[in-house]
Amino acid sequence: MSTETAAPVQMVNVQIDGVWLQFPKGTRVIEACRQAQKLIPHYCYHPKLSSPGNCRMCLVEMGMPKMTPDRNPVVGADGKPEIAWIPRAQISCAQDVSEGMGVRTNSPMVQECRKGVMEFLLINHPLDCPICDQAGECKLQEFSVEHGTAESRFLERKVKKPKSVELGPRVTLDAERCILCTRCIRFMKEVANDDVLGIVDRGTFNSISTHPDRILDHNYSLNTVDICPVGALTSSDFRFKMRVWFLKESATIDTNCGTGSNITVGSRENVIYRITPRDNEAVNGCWMPDSHRLNFKYVGSPERLKEPVIRPQLGEEGPTWQQAINLAVEAIKRNAGRVAIVASGRSTNEELFLVKRLATALGAKVDILPRSGVADGMLIAADRNPNTSGAKLLGVATGQFGEIVAGVKDGSITALIALGEDATKAGLSEEDLAKLDAVVATDILPNKTTAKADVLLPVSAPFEKRGSMINLKGRLQRLNRVVTAPGSARDDWEVLRDLILGITGSNGLHSVEEVFKAMAAETPALAGLTLSRIGDLGVDISLP
């Protein structure tokens, strides 16, 4: 062995299904096989957790180099070491690769083992797939089809265990479906640092339970539902709402805090049903907090603003968009030089770019409304605005908010444009707003500012628009459209474009791609990028 090359990581030669490959030392066999495009079925193994090796699904046939009596490998006719195969199958998830190791992932013995393991796992399984929420993304179903037998030989009575147990406010357990892989226990112990779950009872009556007097109420508890390979742990929120095969899965990002977790949103016929984390090592790994995951109900709220409103109302019929925009433009022009813009840190870069243009055209003061909370040290950042970095980069976060408030109070500002933010949350009172000559507001839900707005323009929620955001670590990520906006609500950037068009009279942009292009041309940090080049996982950019 030539280890003199001073490689940072030692590589070892491993034979997988007859092919010799090199892997860094310390790689688990199951990972090595995965990298060699040989997927090994597994339940308890999870790359982010420790390996107890208790499901026995990942059995493979292994062998070590045949040794001569003087401890030298026997070299075969092809110049490679001959392998002495271990006569019984080994689990691949708890074993690291070693030099000269041989692995057979699909030999007759391995197939026979898997069949047996599958049969054991299904002995007490209730087979209630028709009502199980996991059906469709259940590893038991998948591997049973792939490796199991079609019929049951079990004639005895199945063990009855508690069903529909509420482990916590958000997680429901069906103990009959559980295969005791302990992923959830290890997650709570190793990742969430809240060792609340454990196995109680003995033998065939083994079942998952919480610690006495404790409940599973950690803010990351729903991740156990994600990693549960079967339907034992289900989300109480999503329970019996929709079968997973109906869901259209769209990749986008979370907009609840500055972390910008990558998420997959499941929707059907314009209704969002659930949000699951999406793997992205650079941002959130494969986890996300429950509070962010469940914060999507407002999108389908019946209170959503659907049509533009002007006050005083013209007549029975609401105004058309053109009328509302014209009125807004007129009101802004009337107060030229005395306009302030309350921008939002929840806006996409494209919107903020247009906000900056609008502010420049009007010579208006602009700032984003700060929004902060407590960081939990994991995936929730203290800054609850998802795009503060973008606002800073594009020059919208100016720190002038105090001046705006003061200006409104002393009367030097007579018109306010509130873009998706409630201005009363940052120092302005409703009386202050009432005093203003004109308030133009865009928002998705009614609030105190929209109640005072002279022109109210309904816009899209984060799940309803496209664009890009920059998280606190400086990663540019893409926001995608999952559902369409209700009523005649429009994308924010379109509204801003129309306002700019009305005020400056210059020609407009026609798509969000064009806005990004214009933004990339003016912003050195984004040079060379387009919306499609960002990709699903985002790119790191250097913030000034």
Binding site: P130, R157, K158, K163, F240, F246
Partner: protein
């Protein structure tokens, strides 16, 4: 593999086309004449004569929902039929069975189960896919109504048409 059909060589008479047309007209006129003379055996006269008693066992009429002999809804709202339905005639809204219900163990049932009989094509896929043997195509074929809303069979209507289907599905047996 492509199979080339050799076109037959046509005689001049055949190419001229008109004699063949006359021949065709003769044939159809023959049928017409027979019909007029009453020599043709005609089919069943529907509203008076009906075939209902002779409908075969596999006849595919209107899809219905059935209950078991304990008056339990067999449907557990797995939505497989909604998924498989080619014209997307089925709409199901599931709900959890409340814990005080005697079938609480089953956990899930349809809150709304609608089959749009205007869309239904009587293909029987729903019956075939149902894992709970809850949906059956019965022998009703004269489904009609005066409004569109009437043609959407809701849960109550479906159970009314379906009735009871005896025989315990194994897995809901509390003993087993």
């Amino acid at each position: 593999m492509a199979y080339v059909v050799q076109r037959p060589e046509l005689t001049f008479k055949e190419k001229a086309y008109l004699p063949s047309i006359l021949n065709g007209l003769k044939i159809t006129f023959g049928h017409f004449k027979k019909m007029i003379k009453g020599e043709t055996k005609v089919t069943m006269q529907y509203p008076e004569e009906k075939w209902d008693s002779q409908l075969p066992e596999h006849y595919r009429g209107a899809p219905t929902l059935v209950k078991d002999e304990h008056d339990r809804e067999r449907c557990v709202a797995c939505q497989m039929c909604e998924f498989i339905c080619p014209p997307r005639a089925i709409t199901i809204k599931p709900e959890e069975i409340p814990s005080d219900n005697k079938f609480a163990k089953v956990e899930k049932r349809p809150r709304e189960f609608e089959i749009d009989m205007i869309r239904c094509i009587y293909c029987g896929m729903c019956e075939e896919v149902c894992p709970e043997q809850a949906i059956y195509l019965r022998k009703d074929y004269a489904i009609n109504g005066l409004t569109r809303a009437e043609m959407v069979h809701n849960k109550a209507k479906l159970y009314e048409l379906g009735g009871v289907f005896a025989g315990l599905v194994h897995k809901w047996n509390p003993e087993k």
